[in-house]
Symmetry: C2
Subunit: 317 residues, 2 copies
């Protein structure tokens, strides 16, 4: 893991942060013959894309470091090596702030353009923002299960999580359990957490929720969880840009939008909206038992969609 | 409000409770010429059915106390006047325990049979249980947005709420915000809590969640919320009855099952399952922007369905 340091930064909210230290990883060498792939990670992930997105990123995968130079930076607000100082305990970090920081890092790395920019969920929000704000910088854009403006439904889910975080020390466990409900759906729990014993309590679905809560508490901080949930809420490509449609019309990258049929958090309607309003775009829908989490789990399907898309675009993969 | 007292009671779990005091209300006099309507209330409601189900129950409504004798008892575990002593701080109260208590009260009131038994959600669970356990006692049964066995999805929602309750003093506020997500859906929040201002935070959907959380904290106890959420989880008509299908086949009441198309907590598939497995049953689906909460809010549609059903059955309404 490498670190990129920068002194001062004014957030979109107007607040100042300082002593910023961005953790990032580069997989593969920089070379004029190699295409640059930039990955924007989601809420609780990190710069180690070969870990959390294996099947797409790794030695034997489509995006491997022999063929590509792959960059992934831990986002501003996250707790995996990225840090900063702030007057405010929990400053509001917008998606635009994250992209301004990604751009600073890209400039520092002497990247003149990104051949493939890819992200799902909160990562998709960043990728869209970058393609809107600096269209010439991005040649190909792939976004999965994301949106142009976060929905009232998504904000309500996030607020319930922040209310849980505020309740006390282990609130992050409840917050994760809430999030999991939005990442999955009725079918997921029905097919994977059904009890057939005749009992009165200690059901599998309940045990699973507690397990997932504890697991996150051990690897994440409540401060980062709070900040990034507010970042997600703030997502609105149209803010101070006349309209969302106007913002999306700025994107010149060849764009692939992938939606997951069973996603209740970022429903297909949001993916259709993106594809409809981005000029050079194509929409692909994949099926999954896992709802929104399909963006991490259905790597085989995503791979197939990406490979076909590359053939169509006559891109060497 | 009246009170029914009973000394000792052995719960389905084997635990003992004592000094039980059940708060209940009777609307209208008992008279041989009047039909008896019994209402089973849901999670955070109470015996005042004319308050929380007005539009169906009240002076000018279908179920009025001039024509019917209407009984509604605050359920065991709830905090609206019903109380008990227990060795365990939070005993497990099953739906069967609630019905055993309702039956004791019905016997005390010299009710020889119930002409109309009606309930939605947790109230529907009770109504189904009563019709299974004492079929001859119930002539007509109407259940709305409920199930025969609580789903892993429903249990996961409840566990997230209990994790929030456990987090600290105001955990009940987060619990209510979580519940609200399951009572509504994407469309509900989209149509009622959209922001059009270009802001970075303090979105309407978040404010709404906080408001609903505070509102419940002021009127409910965390102990009751915990107990009743476990009661809901325990719902399984098939427990120790060979199978759910076998249990449902015991019901002899003429049964109307009402489902709400947009209900994500008690989806239509669960209503179809009930109607399919209850002999003299009819299924009606209503539409609502409000998802599961439609069972409380769509009284006009429920009224229309009930009136048509009464005509079909040649019941005087």
């Amino acid at each position: 893991m490498k670190h990129f340091k920068t002194e001062d930064f004014t957030l979109e909210s107007g607040s100042e942060i300082s002593d910023i230290n961005i953790a990032y990883q580069v997989f593969g060498d920089f070379s004029p013959s190699k295409k640059v792939v930039w990955v924007c990670h989601a809420l609780t992930a990190n710069s180690d894309v070969e870990d959390w997105w294996n099947g797409l990123f790794g030695e034997n995968d489509l995006f491997n470091s022999d063929k590509y130079t792959i960059v992934c930076a831990n986002i501003l607000g996250s707790c995996y090596g990225t840090s900063f100082k702030s007057e405010e305990k929990l400053p509001l970090i917008s998606i635009r702030d994250m992209i301004e920081m990604h751009q600073k890092l890209a400039d520092f790395l002497n990247i003149s353009s990104i051949d493939f920019l890819i992200g799902g969920s909160l990562g998709g929000m960043q990728a869209l923002e970058w393609a809107v704000t600096n269209p010439d910088f991005i040649s190909n854009l792939t976004v999965i299960a994301t949106n142009a403006k976060h929905s009232p439904w998504g904000i309500a889910f996030n607020e319930a999580q922040r209310m849980a975080l505020n309740s006390g020390e282990n609130g992050i466990e409840a917050a994760r359990a809430i999030a999991l409900l939005s990442y999955r759906n009725y079918e997921t729990f029905d097919k994977t957490q059904e009890d057939n014993e005749e009992k009165l309590e200690n059901f599998r679905a309940a045990t699973y929720q507690k397990y997932q809560g504890e697991k996150l508490r051990k690897r994440f901080t409540k401060e980062s969880y709070w900040i990034l949930s507010k970042s997600m809420d703030s997502n609105n490509l149209g803010r101070n840009r006349i309209s969302i449609e106007n913002a999306l019309s700025k994107i010149t990258a060849k764009t692939l939008v992938i939606g997951i049929e069973s996603d209740i958090l970022f429903p297909i309607s949001e993916q259709e909206y993106l594809a409809k309003n981005i000029k050079n775009s194509k929409l692909e829908i994949i099926k999954s038992l896992y709802g929104h989490d399909g963006f991490l789990l259905e790597t085989k399907q995503i791979l197939t969609v990406l490979k076909n898309y590359f053939i169509e675009l006559k891109v060497e993969d």
